[in-house]
Symmetry: C2
Subunit: 367 residues, 2 copies
């Protein structure tokens, strides 16, 4: 299993503690200091405040709800994540839009898919997504196994069907064997559900521990620069942490885009009413899941619309729209500096060798 | 440097012997038996014949003409190979069409590029391409550094320009540093030429040694099955080895498609006259570089047109068009079995972490 090399333990599948809160999965590492501990020696008042609001990201792998993660599932899921044959055209893989070498995103305003169509929203990062309360900007998928089925079938993304995916996988004996290994007690291991389960298992490994901010939360006072500490203080005092908190510094609940003032239509397109499409509740108009801010320095452009390319500008927009605050350039600089301290160790992935197609494999379709 | 893990020495950059023949680069490993040696103990008459025609692929890295390969160049080249920001849209990387998890190809008839346009010819494998006499089906690029510049600029592929690529790379300080490391004695290390040099250096690592056939050539008589040996004998006796020989089992010279009988227009589209477009010589009409057959079992669909999806059918077409022979089903089975013995150790690549864009990075362009 090569999903990770070198940087962190992959034997941590055992012995994990999991606190499943009302807001979703919240994984707590078995080894490091829980957030409830008093600040360690060398801590300060700011560290104490931060530890009430945030939790360090565990170095161990999170446990996934209703999906026992095994090495075999991770290995299969990694192949599937990178395999463009899950798309009808044979061009797009999960990694196309959630590029593991680019912070788990594609760096596009909105992704481009089948037939050069543009998708409706910016692709969220897959990194640490397992720790979000739900998936997609509007939370319409309760977890990653539900999410994984969406883009495969979406006409503007991979444009495939469960039947086609099954035909592809069943045409490749080596894939059949991998599914049998990953789902050993199942009569029909090659199934669309299991495609999603394996992808979820792999994606659960894509966490980014040991960011400077994690080290700070764990008691290392000098893990943040003075500017970053000033930014953290502003992040708390101005109210950013009202939505962006917890282990994922966001990702755990839904909020209106424009709590105080709606941003302009160029940033908040009126046609996309967010979670309203899921709940059909008027209160959910223009409501979106607050994104995780982990690795946010890597994941431009920003917002569900992908319209803002500069993290400093994104901070300014959030200040005015969510907090009713016109942040000064210095404040923006400090908050942005703090946000860069949320960049963690990126997953190191050994690029998978995918089994070859056979003459029975359905050919790519471009129409 | 993580370009390879585990399977083979990467310290072999030193001490290589290189025999640059008139046909191009022909790398010979310093350690293993040169082809001129008598068959090893356990060899047979067939092995002796094979060793006159073919050479085992060295486990060591080949030396590249006019490009001293260093670890720094390989590391930079790997990033560039996987970076979709070399394309105008930010969607296509070298790996999109030369997927290292899929035998170095994309599994499409012809590649799809910018604006969902289809390219004119099937994407050849990047694996062992460094050992070809020249690049592209018509040999119009003399080496991989020349080849690499083509798809980046081709309107139907990545649709970028040298200026745009320079603007992207210069907007990313971490890339500037990588270029300075890789080209330490140059005043302007970030250049389009050096993009190509770095990609070539990485691609030179993408060889696939230790195929069963290589082991056989090195004296291990039981590395091939009896059926594969029968296929090898047919491959020689029927004349396949007339074009497909040497270290790359092809790739070193140009031949007409249809030496004896032109295949139908569905396989040999009349509009693509091959090398004629390069040399403007009537003799070069419908002439193409014989492709390497290494890893051919992984690289369907076949021929420059990509019209044949079944390796058995490709063997039959070659028999009739190139040799004037109607091969029996049994003969086709045997030759195909031999061809599967050309699948070598695939390169194991640690997926690169590419440096993040900045607000100065040119935004993707879709038109």
């Amino acid at each position: 299993m090569h999903a990770h090399t070198g940087h962190r333990p992959t034997t941590g599948l055992k012995g994990l503690l999991v606190a499943a809160t009302a807001l979703g999965i919240l994984a707590v590492s078995a080894g490091s200091a829980p957030a409830a501990d008093p600040p360690a020696a060398g801590g300060d008042a700011l560290m104490g405040r931060a530890r009430e609001l945030f939790k360090p990201l565990p170095a161990t792998l999170p446990v996934v709800r209703n999906n026992a993660v095994t090495r075999e599932k991770i290995e299969l899921g990694k192949m599937l994540f990178f395999d463009p044959r899950l798309s009808a055209s044979g061009i797009f893989s999960c990694n196309s839009c959630h590029n593991l070498g680019l912070g788990g995103v594609d760096g596009l305003e909105t992704s481009v898919g089948h037939g050069w169509q543009k998708g409706p929203r910016n692709a969220p990062t897959v990194l640490n997504a397992v720790l979000n309360v739900a998936q997609f900007w509007d939370g319409r998928a309760e977890d990653l196994k539900a999410q994984a089925k969406g883009p495969i079938q979406a006409g503007v993304e991979m444009n495939s069907t469960p039947d086609r995916v099954m035909a592809v996988l069943n045409s490749i004996p080596a894939y059949q064997a991998k599914f049998a290994d990953a789902f050993p007690n199942e009569k029909n291991p090659v199934s669309f559900d299991n495609v999603a389960m394996a992808i979820e298992a792999f994606e659960a490994t894509l966490t980014t521990p040991a960011a400077p901010f994690d080290q700070y939360l764990e008691g290392k006072a000098d893990a943040l620069t003075d500017t970053q500490k000033a930014g953290l203080e502003l992040f708390i005092d101005k109210g950013c942490s009202g939505c962006h908190n917890g282990v994922n510094v966001g990702g755990h609940d839904y909020f209106p885009f424009g709590v105080v003032t709606k941003p302009g239509a160029e940033i908040l397109p009126p046609g996309d009413k967010g979670r309203f499409a899921v709940t059909k509740t008027a209160d959910d108009e223009y409501v979106f899941r607050a994104p995780t801010l982990r690795n946010v320095a890597l994941t431009a452009p920003y917002f569900h619309s992908g319209k803002v390319w500069d993290l400093r500008q994104a901070v300014a927009v959030m200040g005015s729209s969510q907090l009713g605050a016109t942040l000064s350039d210095q404040e923006i600089d400090k908050i942005t500096a703090f946000l860069t301290a949320l960049t963690g160790q990126q997953p190191r992935v050994d690029y998978p060798l995918m089994p070859a197609s056979t003459p029975a494999t359905p050919q790519p379709v471009f129409k």
